[in-house]
Symmetry: C2
Subunit: 219 residues, 2 copies
DNA sequence: GTCTATAGCTTGATAGAC
DNA sequence: GTCTATCAAGCTATAGAC
């Protein structure tokens, strides 16, 4: 028999897990509290008991993941060796930024699967900028931008900002695992093969950052 | 006094314009038919009269733009000179792909503004892949992938697919105009300055495609 | 902490007058 | 083609029993 505290933990997390899952597929407005509780197998009123409102439930879904993510990224940065040649340092630092979003082992990769898709879904919307990105993600993004700026000696900070945003756009689209690359490649590439995806995006984005200064864009 | 046909055209397009606008901000589920008709200044029941269902209205919002977009992109490709050096050809072909989404003059840029944001919103969702991208956008994407593959002699088609998807991820995020690059650059960059954005993304993505084959990604 | 029951509102869609 | 009126269903949130 579960005691009160263990039951609370179990119900709370069942709601959070199910909410994260449905939000990541149908969006926040496309997911009703009823659908969440039905699929989680708990009573409708328990969402309001634990989280007050649907909005606060969504906030909790995010907060639950975001602290760990930021800590891991900062740790990766603190341990980073900036004396390395930039041709190898840039790929490394991008990989360090990506890894906490993917996970270190099979379990973690699976655990973060719905979270990744949810982040992808809100990344291209202006609505969630203040709620999510401004406070939770921007401070760490700024650290990485400064680090990359230090490593790439021939770019302005503004250009590094553009570059990092383009990189984030590629990344958020890739973790959405839309299956589009599968179709376009006639099955040769697989959007759910995250190991390969990470290798490809690191190569692509590093090449972009290292060489964008030398491209002529006059048309 | 307007005749019947002119009135129909006017009401239909007022609904389409308003729907496109609200969908692009709040998403499909976050926008009610009532909100659309209220803001458009037309009666609630006219949505069902002209479009039957909300889903079909959304479909019409997309279809209205997509044919022009595809035609322009194919035309750009047909006129393309493939004998040029790849270092200048790659930036050029990427620019050709982007331009129809932005518009040729101030009016077009403004007219397509909401459409761009709507596309950005659905691009990172698996839900809309079949409805929108598979049939409306993939055929043209394949043409551009093959063209880029032809130009970049040292990449596999699979790698070009990954690259083009990363490019599309950057692009869809950029046209969302989330304002994030503004914050991260402390105001030096501006996400609504599309001219600059296009120059930057062309440089970034061309560098990526031209040089990704030479990056070592071992960690 | 979990349940039933329900209030109060918004939703998409339609029937029928003009 | 446009309007009023309305339906049936779904929604978030809450009050109160256990």
């Amino acid at each position: 028999m579960l005691n009160k505290k263990a039951s609370t933990q179990k119900t709370r997390e069942k709601i959070l897990d199910t909410a994260e899952h449905l939000f990541s597929i149908y969006g926040i407005d496309g997911t009703s509290v009823r659908n969440i509780t039905r699929q989680a197998g708990v009573d409708l009123s328990l969402v309001n008991y634990y989280f007050n409102t649907k909005d606060q439930l969504f906030e909790e879904v995010l907060v639950r993941r975001v602290a760990k993510m930021s800590d891991a990224r900062i740790e990766q940065l603190n341990e980073f060796n900036f004396n390395e040649d930039k041709n190898t340092a840039i790929p490394k630092i991008l990989r360090r930024f990506i890894e906490p979003l993917i996970g270190k082992n099979e379990n973690e990769v699976k655990e973060l699967s719905n979270y990744r898709k949810l982040i992808a879904l809100v990344a291209n919307s202006k609505l969630w900028q203040d709620v999510i990105f401004k406070y939770h993600y921007d401070p760490i993004a700024e650290e990485y931008i400064d680090a990359i700026w230090r490593l790439s000696n021939n770019l302005s900070r503004e250009d590094v900002c553009w570059a990092f945003n383009f990189f984030l756009g590629s990344l958020t689209n890739a973790i959405a695992e839309t299956g589009r690359v599968d179709r376009l490649s006639y099955g040769d590439a697989c959007s759910s093969d995250l190991d390969t995806m990470v290798n490809k995006i690191v190569a692509y984005s590093s090449a972009a950052i290292l060489h964008m200064g030398n491209i002529k864009t006059t048309h």
